[in-house]
Point group: C2
Chain length 167, copies 2
DNA sequence: TTGACATAGTTAGCCAGCTAATTATAATGA
DNA sequence: TCATTATAATTAGCTGGCTAACTATGTCAA
């Protein structure tokens, strides 16, 4: 995702709206600001993860495993939940296995499947990352009171409703 | 950016909040939903661009040039405004030049700089993409009235304030 | 039983970002 | 003046996504 450092000023938007009458100025500026804030957030959180030697993809796999009762799952399920292809998940798991944060174990009941285990080292890694990560999220949301957080969630849900119609 | 298909349910969040007391549950769920909606939006808009044979990076360069009075700029300035490195901008411009949408012209006053011109074909490409793009944005924001759009912008600005403190 | 199909995971190769090093030109100060 | 430093753009090589093709295993119906 691009960082969109230079959002259009109102007069630039207005000029584009003259050339392209389909433009809904307040919709466009809202969407661009939304994309921009999300990108900046994502970059800032990436920086936090990389301080701990992690990238977003691998970190998310650790979280997904941590959610499981027995800290175990399968590559295809992890891929689905993380929103990446199975090929990409293979690569993520390769990296995590090399770092000793997960272990691959062959399943007995179906020899096609591989079970992915979060190791103690993996749990330890999360225990060192998550407090830092959560502290940062708390910090950047501290300017919003509970009502504003609910407003945000409601508005995001409304936008989300419109997304399927785009495809 | 990951697609985050599987956001934590409230009870998963609560369990994590027990292990990691720094977690601010409503902050975390707001941020995750924000990232998720933004990613989905970005993916949907990418799909729109790719129908027209464009990728986000190249398309954004065309827009930046279109904003200029004389439809001209420089690689380093474009890189800064698009939030990519100059090396990446070189690659984006290579692609656009091959498609004939921009032209490189050597500057006379400083022979280190290259002037980038949006060609007529480049303008034509924007003229075919933008109406479609704007129509989609209008469509996904149509569920929000003017007041909600303003609320969103205000809330995003508040979050944005907190981001610098993260780094 | 066995041939067709489905599923799990991996491999190979592409692409668009990135950093670091390189080339060419300009600006500056002893 | 000319050595040093700064700047503009590019090139080379890395990485983590992707798609498509492949291997191995399981399922199911004729």
């Amino acid at each position: 995702m691009l960082q969109l450092k230079d959002l259009p000023t109102p007069d630039v938007l207005a000029k584009f709206a003259i050339r392209y009458p389909d433009a809904d100025v307040t919709a466009v500026s809202s969407v661009l600001q939304l994309l921009r804030v999300a990108t900046d957030l994502s970059i800032a959180l990436d920086a936090c993860l990389s301080k701990h030697g992690l990238l977003q993809g691998r970190w998310w796999v650790l979280i997904l495993l941590m959610r499981e009762e027995n800290k175990t799952s399968q590559p295809s399920i992890l891929a689905e939940k993380a929103g990446v292809t199975r090929a990409t998940m293979t690569g993520l798991l390769d990296g995590l296995e090399q770092s000793g944060l997960i272990a691959r174990v062959l399943a007995k009941e179906d020899r096609r499947t591989v079970l992915i285990n979060l190791t103690d080292a993996g749990v330890g890694k999360l225990d060192s990352v998550m407090p830092d990560y959560y502290r940062r999220i708390r910090c950047c949301m501290q300017g919003l009171d509970e009502e504003q957080r609910q407003q945000l969630q409601k508005i995001l849900a409304l936008i989300n409703l419109g997304i399927p119609a785009l495809t």
